[in-house]
Assembly symmetry: C2
Homo-oligomer: 217 residues x 2
DNA sequence: CCCCGGAAACGTACGCTGTAAGGTTTTTGC
DNA sequence: GCAAAAACCTTACAGCGTACGTTTCCGGGG
């Protein structure tokens, strides 16, 4: 079957599912040839009968995740009510996002890949189709795809997401920071006041994601 | 000097500039302890007197690049004419982008870092200050910062930037692709027709960057 | 029945990485 | 001029990806 690259003939996707679960539990750095081979009960070099190398393994990892996004989207959109291109894209991005939240390592891994996974083309194809149906020209659709950035894959850069260790900023350091970055600290104070109560949620994630999303549409 | 982390006392930033030039010429994968130490005429282990480890070296790399962005921005904005917050941000993002174009490895490296470089705070502080002056509330400013995504650092995900090796797609493959991804191929055909002449520029970069930018503002 | 040919897994080995431990040289302050 | 401290070097180890040679397994023709 020379036309298309059939993923793995025999124990093939067992490798990938094993690798995904390793990445989920121990981080992507733990995805090593020996570690994966041990997980499927095999010696390291045997992997080379199913994969050309480490890079292909990582490519397979992101491909697996993106395929999960694709299938999840098709599940969500099973009930075929047409609700307009904006709501459709919105729901699609949010679906992608929930998948990515299950595999925190995926965004950074995708960012490091040099080639984009073939399954990602399917996503972009679907997005573009929706845009065209919505009356977009090809040109505008093209620009729109660019504008979405990494949203089709369900993530945006964390900004100060984890607040970087934030181990008890010790008032003097905080004061120094307030002096050096007055607006940022004022903003933080203001935002924390608004979000008092729901810890962990003051900056990150879903609200901001949806805001940016609605802004773009 | 326990309060602030002075970068490197003696040969300190020589390490970083050497590392940057290595990354520029040979790729970020070539930035290894031994390679960098050899570049400054020293043995590998000596680096540990100036850096706690490899991660710190990479952190220093991104910090160097971001600082370059900061200084470049301040140079550009030297002539103090106030041209409104939108034009200011626009020019700032484009400045960041030109710096990043000189160090193609920087975006992916930044994406992989767990902590954001301290110098990046300076950039966000400046952005927020401009927004506040422009009449934004802290809350809206906060959302705006999120919406900018990675633009303050001068990059967006490449989408199909290098078209992935694109080695002579051999008509049959192209036909298969056209069948599987009809809208995408139609769009490509349409866009290529528009941009006939300026090769390499049909998809990537500056135009799209500016479009997204203007859309957000 | 045996045998054997090819695929799949194994084992060994090499060069590379980051870095822990400890010895040696150079610089510096009194 | 001489100790103390900083900078440097040497050695060593575990782990990585992977090239290469050997072994094991299994199905079809003599």
């Amino acid at each position: 079957m020379p036309t298309s690259a059939k993923r793995e003939p025999l124990t093939g996707d067992r490798l990938l599912t094993a690798a995904v679960s390793i990445a989920d539990t121990e981080g992507v750095a733990a995805v090593t040839m020996r570690r994966v081979s041990a997980a499927v009960g095999v010696e390291a070099m045997s992997l080379y009968h199913h994969l050309p190398g480490k890079e292909a393994l990582l490519d397979g990892l992101v491909d697996t995740v993106v395929m999960e996004v694709v299938s999840q989207i098709s599940i969500v959109e099973e009930s075929g009510a047409d609700l307009g291109w904006q709501a459709t894209l919105r729901r699609r991005f949010l679906t992608a996002r929930t998948v990515m939240l299950c595999h925190p390592w995926a965004p950074v891994l995708i960012a490091t890949r040099t080639s984009i996974p073939p399954s990602a083309f399917a996503i972009y194809e679907g997005l573009l189709a929706t845009l065209i149906e919505g009356g977009f020209s090809y040109h505008l659709g093209h620009r729109a795809l660019h504008s979405f950035g990494s949203m089709p894959l369900g993530f945006v850069r964390g900004l100060f997401s984890p607040t970087a260790g934030d181990d008890d900023p010790s008032e003097e350091d905080f004061a120094a920071m307030a002096e050096a970055l007055p607006h940022l600290t004022s903003m933080m104070a203001s935002e924390i006041q608004i979000h008092q109560g729901d810890t962990l949620g003051w900056c990150d994630s879903r609200d901001e994601f949806e805001f940016t999303l609605d802004l773009l549409l």
